[in-house]
């Protein structure tokens, strides 16, 4: 976008340069040296701009340049004042041509001389009607070409005016513009282009004038309309009607930005008038009343002197207050009046009732001024009054002028004085980065996330500015400062809010004046950008200390801001700031820093350094640790087999050893029988020496080998034992690792309690009931994802509890209950589940109403016998609500069925326990993410399946006697309780392949939907630890399955979700009619679209509204909102004012033109407080204009109001 804008601007500038270059050449050829000089000067100025890469020129200058050829033609035609007009362009401030007055005069003289010198010649040519064709053809052509373009341009400008006028209901002005456009288009061919252009040139001025002072400018506008060149034949009646229309519809007091077709953006850069300033104004008014009273009380007696003295004192006070409030002009006037009263004091004889009257009138004017200081002519009466000759000390005209400027300047500076008011001295508190004790962790998280990005962008923009940046950089920097200010204020980080606030003001002042900050200002801005970055680094824990010298930097920024407030932007190269520049912020941690920040920094540093990592990374770690666990168990499995093999080997070795022993004995016996195998040596008797033959030796070796082999086997086994230990240790380590990784996902329940409390308070306010929420188990740490998923159902439960559970105060008192309802929320951990109990002391479930609805819906028959237990389940069924449509206030949430839907879709369960007149307890069980679980491995037919402890109450080994058959259904009777029985095979629709009468080996008691069923298993194959995985990206969830696990042998076993399987099976056999289609209950919620460019603002609104029971959609700016609107049609839109690409006003204006959604309620939430913005927004079609900070109740009630109005 930026690049594109730059390009068009550059092209435009180049076009100007080309035209003027041609003119210069032609002027030199025809001896118009003065004209040539002028052209060259302009060329130089423009080329310099091009060279410096600041192609952006103001629209005004653009227009002047466009008209330049026309001026030249006028000059050539010897039109009066033509030379003057040309010179006036040279003096255009934006061209920045450095000539002294004398030089200008000289140039003008040259122009006139040139013209005179050639006069006779030109005259001659003109007379011959060949002026254009012969001697100045090029000039004429160039001028003519451009003239047509300029007329086109004027027409488009006029069209913009017409549109703007239409938007502002200035129908008279709109008519005038359209008439002129029409006339020009028809007359263009015939009319004298110079005359036409002159007229068109004058129009923007007239229109602006009309906008400021309609009464006087109406005639001028009509006169323009009556110009013969336009040939608009208006009859008197028409003329009068238009005049009336012009005067009557001139309701817009503020000027339309001249030649700007983007009123929203232009207006958006104007400052605000915050609440704090308004308070100061009120204070001034009160003080004025006091002075007035004092003046009234003046009695002309001896006390006059003391009376005048007290008035003098009051005035002194008034001067101070005026100064503090930023009313410098008023202060000056008061000082002037004080001089007068002092004069009266010293000359009491001059003080007559007439003078008293004078003072009384004056204070009346002051009050009037305070009431109207935002208006254009504010303070004029005040000044005029002080010019009265009755005042002993007169107000000299030049002082009056200065004061008047200040009075008007005050209007601006007072508006600029935002929260907190601009002080002169920066305090340590102003740069404090201490977080408020009740900081909203979520918002803080978001801020910390966006802070480094924004500060970096800000620095970049400022650095760009330093290197010949464009106005766009200035805007970027200003927008970031604005956003950061908002975010920091929302979170409560004062240091950043204060700094960015003043930065925004400075940048805004420059942007408004279309000026680039000079080097001194840039240096301060760079320091501030560095300081912001350092603050950001400290906050996100990258550095140990808050930035050193932040206070000095804020001080410099303050000095600049104050200087701009008081005397406007410094001219050209600004004077150096009043205070010497201290060293820039130290980026690195400075351990010796002992500023006033020392204490507070240490308190913050106690927060451990945090690292923000993407949650995906945690998931990857978790997955990898799970993988390690699987590999470990596979290794263990191998080890187990290896051990078994070695054990078997050991037995073999023992056998081998025994056999070789036997062999040895046999050989020995053979020896003793004398049958020696060798007959070589006969000298010794066998007793004298053992005769070893080969067989003997071999057998001995065999025995030894067998023995050794067994020894080695034992060694190997002990090695394996060690290995087993190592593996076991590794397993523990991996489990610990997994636990540690899981820990990173844990958050305390307490982190959501404030939201729950808020929901309750809001619902109470909306329903007019009184209740208290007590919580227990807030310190419980649970998985962040689970907790987040639980917020929505919990909110619904709380809203329902207040809305339907609790009785009205009168009913409660009549029932002998305390007037304030009590809602108790209890968090607990139960196995691998989070158990939440919400107990209210209201009226409990209305079974009659439920039955009634069920009958109406044809779910049950009128005479059907249905227990309360069953009725209770009805309200959890999809699309079942006892409420009628009309009582369902929009934006207040959905029924219990929706809660149940959400809970079940998250894998949890919901139980209701109602006591009539005493209250309802809702029990939520949400599973924690299981990655590792103990499971039973069972066979269902040929399938090997794993069963986790989910819902598992007990494992039994039942005998045949425990089973009985009732009405064809098998029942398990255990300890006095009957359980319905179903086999696992039947649940899984797997063929039963047991022999008849063969008993099931095991029975599982599974709890589901408030009842317990017995599930028969063929066999339990194993009991082991499993890592449960899901079925991948595409098949996330298969009903009846939790996931799958990889076994030790590498095969996959599906992990069954027994309660879900039982529920699925129950559904198919249910006696009640099931609704055909399940509507996602969220579709019933009112949809709200939030459009805001600040992430933190967006999130806080999103949270507020989703907590209030809306389905929230978000967009970052107008463009994104419009894109989103093609997919989603919200019920209401909340939009910010200032946003990139398309702002809130443009968005609103656009939406109001779209037939299908033009009646969509739109609420604008902005920090802009001026009437001007308010008016713009209202004209665009905004229903409500709310100023930040918005009170939540206020916003909600406005939304409620608009939605109701829309529904009617």
């Amino acid at each position: 976008m930026l690049q594109h804008a730059d390009n068009t601007e550059t092209t435009r500038l180049k076009a100007h340069i080309d035209t003027i270059d041609q003119l210069a050449n032609q002027a030199s050829e025809t001896n118009y040296f003065g004209l040539q000089d002028v052209c060259l000067l302009i060329l130089e100025a423009l080329n310099e701009r091009l060279h410096n890469e600041i192609p952006a020129i103001t629209t005004e200058l653009d227009l002047c340049l466009q008209n330049f050829p026309v001026r030249v033609v006028e000059y050539l035609q010897n039109t009066a004042n033509a030379a003057e007009n040309i010179i006036s362009l040279l003096k255009h401030p934006d061209l920045n041509i450095a000539l002294i007055d004398d030089e200008f005069t000289l140039l003008e003289q040259t122009l006139t001389d040139d013209s005179t010198a050639q006069h006779s010649y030109t005259d001659l040519v003109t007379e011959n009607n060949a002026y254009a064709a012969q001697h100045y053809p090029e000039i004429r052509t160039t001028a003519n070409d451009t003239q047509t373009q300029y007329i086109e341009k004027h027409l488009s400008t006029l069209e913009n005016y017409a549109n703007e006028a239409a938007e502002k209901a200035q129908y008279g002005l709109q008519d005038v513009c359209l008439l002129i456009i029409d006339a020009v288009q028809t007359q263009q061919a015939e009319a004298n282009p110079v005359e036409l252009l002159t007229l068109l040139d004058s129009l923007p001025v007239l229109i602006n004038h009309y906008n400021q002072d309609p009464d006087n400018a109406t005639d001028a506008l009509l006169a323009a309309l009556n110009q013969p060149i336009l040939n608009i034949a208006l009859i008197d009646d028409e003329q009068n009607m238009l005049r009336t229309l012009l005067i009557e519809t001139s309701t817009v007091p503020q000027a339309l930005p001249a030649n700007d077709n983007n009123p929203g953006l232009e207006a958006a850069t104007h400052p605000t008038l915050p609440a704090a300033s308004l308070e100061l104004v009120e204070l001034l008014v009160m003080q004025a009343h006091l002075i007035e009273k004092l003046l009234d009380e003046i009695i002309f007696n001896d006390d006059l002197s003391s009376h005048l003295e007290s008035i003098d004192d009051e005035l002194e006070r008034y001067i101070n207050v005026s100064k503090i409030a930023g009313f410098a002009g008023l202060a000056q006037l008061c000082e002037h009046v004080q001089h007068n009263t002092q004069y009266f004091h010293s000359h009491p004889d001059t003080f007559t009732p007439h003078q008293q009257q004078l003072l009384q009138t004056w204070i009346g004017h002051v009050k009037h001024y305070l009431a109207t200081f935002t208006e254009e002519d504010a303070g004029l009466a005040l000044i005029t009054h002080l010019n009265d000759s009755q005042w002993p000390v007169a107000l000299t005209p030049d002082i009056a002028l200065k004061v008047l400027n200040h009075l008007r300047h005050t209007n601006l500076s007072a508006e600029q004085t935002a929260l907190p008011k601009r002080t002169h001295l920066a305090s340590d508190n102003d740069v404090s980065l201490t977080l408020p004790s009740d900081v909203n962790q979520e918002l803080l998280g978001i801020l910390l996330h966006e802070l480094p990005i924004y500060t970096q962008e800000f620095s970049q923009a400022i650095h760009n500015l330093q290197q010949d940046g464009s106005a766009e950089d200035l805007n970027v920097a200003q927008r970031i400062a604005h956003t950061l200010k908002g975010s920091a204020n929302t979170v409560g980080i004062g240091g950043i809010a204060v700094l960015t606030h003043h930065l925004e003001d400075i940048l805004e002042a420059y942007a408004k004046a279309h000026k680039m900050p000079g080097s001194a200002a840039i240096n301060v801005l760079i320091d501030a950008a560095d300081c912001l970055e350092a603050m950001s680094e400290f906050l996100i824990g990258m550095s140990q200390q808050p930035p050193d010298g932040a206070r000095q930097i804020l001080q410099e920024i303050l000095d600049w801001a104050n200087q701009i407030d008081q005397s406007g932007l410094p001219d050209q190269e600004e004077s150096t700031p009043r205070q010497p520049r201290p060293a820039a912020v130290e980026h690195t941690a400075n351990t010796t820093a002992t500023t006033g920040l020392g204490d507070e920094s240490s308190s913050i540093s106690q927060q451990t350094a945090m690292v923000r990592v993407p949650s995906e990374q945690i998931d990857t770690l978790l997955r990898m640790s799970g993988e390690s666990l699987i590999l470990n168990s596979q290794a263990n499995e191998r080890l187990r087999r290896l051990k078994a093999q070695l054990l078997a080997m050991d037995t073999q070795f023992i056998t081998l050893q025994r056999l070789s022993d036997e062999l040895e004995q046999l050989i020995d016996i053979q020896d003793l029988t004398g049958k020696t195998l060798s007959g070589i040596d006969q000298e010794f008797d066998s007793l004298e020496m053992d005769q070893y033959n080969e067989l003997y030796t071999t057998s001995r070796r065999l025995v030894e080998a067998a023995f050794d082999a067994r020894e080695m086997n034992l060694d190997a086994r002990s090695e394996l034992e060690h290995m087993s230990e190592v593996l076991e240790y590794q397993q523990r380590l991996v489990i610990d690792t997994q636990g540690a990784i899981m820990q990173t996902r844990l958050v305390p329940v307490a982190s959501i309690t404030s939201r729950l409390q808020r929901t309750l308070r809001q619902t109470c306010r909306l329903t007019g009931k009184n209740s208290e929420l007590s919580l227990s188990g807030e310190q419980l740490m649970i998985d962040g994802d689970v907790l987040n998923a639980m917020i929505d159902p919990l909110m619904h439960i709380l809203r329902n509890a207040v809305d339907h559970g609790l009785e009205s105060e009168a009913e409660r008192l009549a029932a002998g209950k305390p007037s304030v309802g009590l809602i108790n929320l209890e968090f607990d951990r139960e196995g691998n589940n989070i158990l939440v109990r919400c107990r209210d002391d209201g009226r409990g479930l209305d079974f009659a109403a439920i039955r009634n609805t069920a009958e109406q819906r044809g779910v049950i028959q009128q005479d059907q016998d249905v227990s309360e237990e069953e009725l209770k389940r009805f309200i959890l069924r999809p699309n079942f609500s006892t409420r009628t449509e009309s009582t369902q206030t929009s934006g207040r949430g959905v029924g219990m069925n929706a809660v149940h839907f959400q809970v079940v879709s998250l894998g949890g369960s919901l139980n209701l326990y109602s006591q009539h007149g005493k209250g309802l307890t809702i029990e939520l069980r949400m599973p924690l993410p299981i990655s590792r679980s103990h499971a039973l491995l069972a066979m269902a037919g040929t399938y090997r399946v794993a069963i986790t402890s989910k819902g598992l109450k007990q494992i039994l080994y039942a005998v045949a006697d425990d089973f009985s058959s009732v009405g064809g259904e098998q029942i398990l009777h255990m300890e006095g309780i009957d359980y319905p029985v179903i086999s696992l095979n039947r649940l899984l629709h797997v063929a039963e392949n047991r022999k008849k009468n063969q008993r099931h080996s095991a029975v599982l008691l599974i709890e589901h939907d408030e009842k317990t069923s017995a599930v028969l298993l063929d066999s339990i194959a194993d009991s082991l630890e499993l890592v449960i995985k899901d079925f991948g990206h595409y098949l996330k969830k298969i009903p009846g399955y939790i996931g799958a696990a990889i076994m030790g042998d590498g095969a996959v076993a599906p992990v069954l979700d027994m309660p879900a399987l039982l529920r699925l099976s129950a559904q198919s056999t249910s006696a009640y009619v099931e609704p055909a289609e399940i509507i996602d209950p969220r579709a019933l919620l009112s949809k709200v679209l939030i459009v805001d460019d600040s992430l933190s603002q967006r999130r806080s609104l999103e949270q507020l509204l989703s907590d209030a029971g809306f389905a929230v959609h978000i967009a970052r700016d107008g463009i994104e909102a419009i894109e989103l609107l093609t997919e989603v049609t919200p019920d209401i839109i909340l939009t910010d004012l200032e946003m990139p690409r398309m702002n809130g006003i443009e968005l609103t204006a656009h939406l109001r033109t779209q037939a299908q959604i033009k009646n969509l309620p739109i609420i604008m939430i902005t920090s802009r407080t001026t009437q001007k913005h308010h008016k713009l927004a209202e004209d665009a079609g905004v229903d409500f204009y709310l100023v930040k900070p918005v009170r939540e109740d206020d916003l909600l009630s406005k939304i409620q109001y608009l939605l109701q109005k829309r529904n009617q």
Binding site: H989, I1046, P1054
Partner: protein
């Protein structure tokens, strides 16, 4: 056991996207079609056949033929869901598109399991024969009349090359269309 997958075969089908000079399938591939385009570029696409339908996948998608003996079937699911398989620690669902064709034809004996994509996004299909590389030159075509509805929802484009109609398959859309029927219908 976990690491026992057919390494050699798998490598044949890994498309090395990092190195454009490697043309892995051109020479080592046992294509069902007799001719092979010698000029296989990065833009070439991967096609496979199920029954009488031919499907296209982007060539930069990771594919491998996996050992079909490792399939673990699941009870109580739709027939097209053949089960799951452990592929280097990821649970991979196996889809039998042949069942979705519902044209009564029986699948061929020499079916292979083609695993597509990596990590959690891996999905395996039973395919007839081996997958083949195709040059990216197609002419556009229209949808055949007899295409089952579920498949129709999963096809983003129809194109033609060498007399054959090729269907561009979107996995996201396929599973979206399938998601309504994950559990076996009860009789």
């Amino acid at each position: 056991m976990l690491l026992e997958y057919p390494t050699v075969e798998r490598e044949l089908f890994e498309l090395n996207t990092q190195d454009p000079t490697v043309k892995p399938l051109a020479t080592s591939f046992n294509s069902t079609e007799d001719h092979l385009n010698p000029d296989i570029s990065d833009e070439s696409v991967l096609g496979f056949r199920v029954g009488n339908l031919r499907f296209l996948l982007a060539a930069n998608i990771f594919c491998e033929i996996v050992d079909q003996n490792k399939v673990s079937p699941l009870p109580n699911v739709q027939p097209w869901f053949s089960g799951v398989l452990n592929l280097r620690g990821d649970i991979v669902p196996i889809i039998d598109l042949h069942i979705l064709l519902a044209d009564g034809s029986t699948p061929l004996k020499n079916r292979h399991l083609l695993a597509i994509d990596k990590g959690k996004k891996t999905v395996a299909f039973w395919i007839d024969g081996y997958p083949q590389m195709l040059s990216p030159h197609f002419t556009s075509a229209s949808a055949p009349d007899d295409l089952p509805d579920v498949l129709r929802q999963a096809i983003t484009d129809y194109s033609r090359q060498d007399q054959h109609l090729w269907l561009t398959l979107s996995l996201d859309k396929l599973f979206k269309a399938l998601s309504v029927h994950t559990v076996q219908d009860k009789d």
